[in-house]
């Protein structure tokens, strides 16, 4: 690899412990990871293995109990919530399993929301979102409210919102969980293409076997700990 390696996110022996009826649950245990810019990482593991918790740690949405997290080189533990919010807004894109879109905003307004909060001028926002919509196959749906979009279309709008601001990384937590298999594969294709064409960094949590098979880097979690971290050559065209 000749290209320069830039770390998008790094964790150092990070733990997240929840109190649960007086019992401590180690949702994430002693995870040390490094994800480079441009990687496409699939985070796999059974239910309760800590995928969501790890993603939230990687995105600065929750603070670790122990250990440290760097996003784009900035260490999070010392930050106040306001600073972490700012960091999320500027460096991280999120795609959640559900509740991704505001029902009162159109597809375009949803997709441009982060840009708007960052103060990007209206013209530029619109141009970027429209371009991206075209690229991911939802061109022409800009003015629809989420209730008038299919589940797959809604998730694409969410992907567009996450990607459009060119963040250091995009975290997708089971974005296909509510989709049928065809739409799931299509959404994965969209993200893979964006990863390859635009170099967007993706960390994608799933327990869908077919999606795992297409991963170039697969991190398996068991009981909050990394069980395996394997890389494969590109599966593109395979």
């Amino acid at each position: 690899m000749s290209e320069q390696r830039v770390v998008a996110v790094r964790t150092d022996r990070v733990w997240k412990v929840f109190e649960h009826d007086g019992i401590a649950v180690d949702a994430v245990r002693d995870v040390s990871l490094e994800i480079q810019r441009g990687e496409f990482v699939v985070l796999a593991g059974p239910s309760g293995s800590g995928k969501t918790t790890l993603l939230n740690l990687l995105g600065g949405l929750t603070a670790p109990t122990r250990g440290a997290v760097w996003i784009d080189g900035q260490e999070l533990t010392a930050m106040k919530e306001r600073q972490r919010a700012r960091l999320r807004l500027e460096r991280v894109g999120f795609v959640f399993q559900a509740y991704n879109l505001l029902p009162v905003l159109t597809a375009l307004e949803n997709a441009e929301f982060s840009l708007l909060l960052r103060g990007v001028p209206a013209e530029e926002r619109k141009r970027k979102v429209q371009e991206l919509f075209q690229r991911i196959g939802i061109g022409g749906l800009e003015d629809r409210r989420p209730s008038k979009l299919s589940g797959g279309q809604q998730q694409r709008v969410a992907v567009a919102r996450a990607v459009v601001g060119e963040p250091a990384l995009v975290l997708a937590d089971e974005p296909t969980a509510n989709l049928d298999s065809a739409s799931s594969i299509a959404l994965l294709d969209v993200m893979t293409t964006l990863n390859e064409d635009l170099g967007t960094t993706f960390v994608f949590a799933t327990h869908d076997q077919r999606l795992m098979e297409r991963a170039r880097r697969l991190i398996r979690l068991v009981d909050g700990a990394v069980e395996s971290d394997t890389r494969r050559p590109s599966t593109k065209g395979a």
Binding site: N56, L61, A85, L87, R88, Y99, L102, P103, L105, L117
Partner: protein, 419 residues
Amino acid sequence: MAARPWWRIGWRNLGRNRRRSLITIAALAVGYFSVVLLVGWWDGVVVEMINNGTGILSGQLQVHSAAYLPDRNVYETIGGPDGTDVTAIIAGVTADPAVEGAAPRVYGGGLVSFGNATTAAAFLGIDPELEPRVSRLMDALSSGRPPARGTNEILVGVEMARILGVEPGAEVVVVAPAVDGSLGNDLFVVSGVFTSGLADLDRTFALLPIDALQALMVLDPGRVHEIAAAVPDPWDAPAAATRLHSALGATDGALAVESWTDLRPELVEYAQLSQSFQWVLLVIVFGMAIFGVANTMLMATFERRHEFALLLALGAAPRGIVWSVVVEAIALGAIGLLVGAAVTGPVLVWWHNAPPDLSWLVGDFTMAGALVRPVLRVEYPWSMAVQSALALFATAALAALYPAMRAARVPPADTLSGR
């Protein structure tokens, strides 16, 4: 950070649960309507009370010899024993811009007899031409007509007429102590009977032409006890009294110029009491509204907690979320105000110009010694209309604050994973 997206979200959220929004809007509109209308009606009652308390007999402003009140000593005529140029004083009083008319008066006391019946009476000598510009006592006579100048005629109250058993045309004996120490007495013909609705007046008051009463009491034509004046807006009277005090040269201390606020402090107190009552009403109505709006906003924000969590996860500032909720509540307030004002305005105009009469329901009543008709006549409560509008916005914004702050404190990670 731009506030506009929050405005947009707040405004559009308003339309999500139309029925709930409409009910809240209706509650605010009804609150506004009730406060403004009740206050308008209460203002109307106070105005009527002041008008009746001052307009039936006393007038809104009076000029006396400084020593006349409070004893109403019959010797203390304006200008002393030599009297004064009555026409000149009346002209002077009428010259004030706030004054509409003025009339001279002589007061006396004595007895009225008819046959075997005798009753004590307060005599009021009036100028039959000038008096109607100041008082309404002779406006609605239950029978007969006012006494005419230059005649021995007397107008008695309905209760006195009953006690004496007289009707217009009856000849009564009037006895009154004169200022020279003698006892004046003469025959008078009852010209008419008045009904003021005020028991004291109807029982004890009798009106005589001023010249006849002066003759009976041995007072020269230049000797009067009082110049009473009408000030159409009663609240202008204190300022007019101050102006007239210097305009009439009363600064030497011989003359006293008093407005009804000096003469009838209980009416002023009543007006002030009703002012504080209005504030209590405002606080109660909008205090209740606060809980209504807060309830709506709590339900709405609870339903949308996933959306707030999403926005916070994306990196939105909590104050943006607070703002979107407050905007929604203020929009509710604004629409409530528009609807409220649209309903209140026409009713105000209607009840100002053609007040529904409720006397069939409750009859007349007196308040602070003044007669009040039970009509729903409203004054235009401008200041209260504005204050209620502000109170309505404050209510909406205040009620939204707690739900808004809760919305902004939603824990994003847990909420989004459905915890």
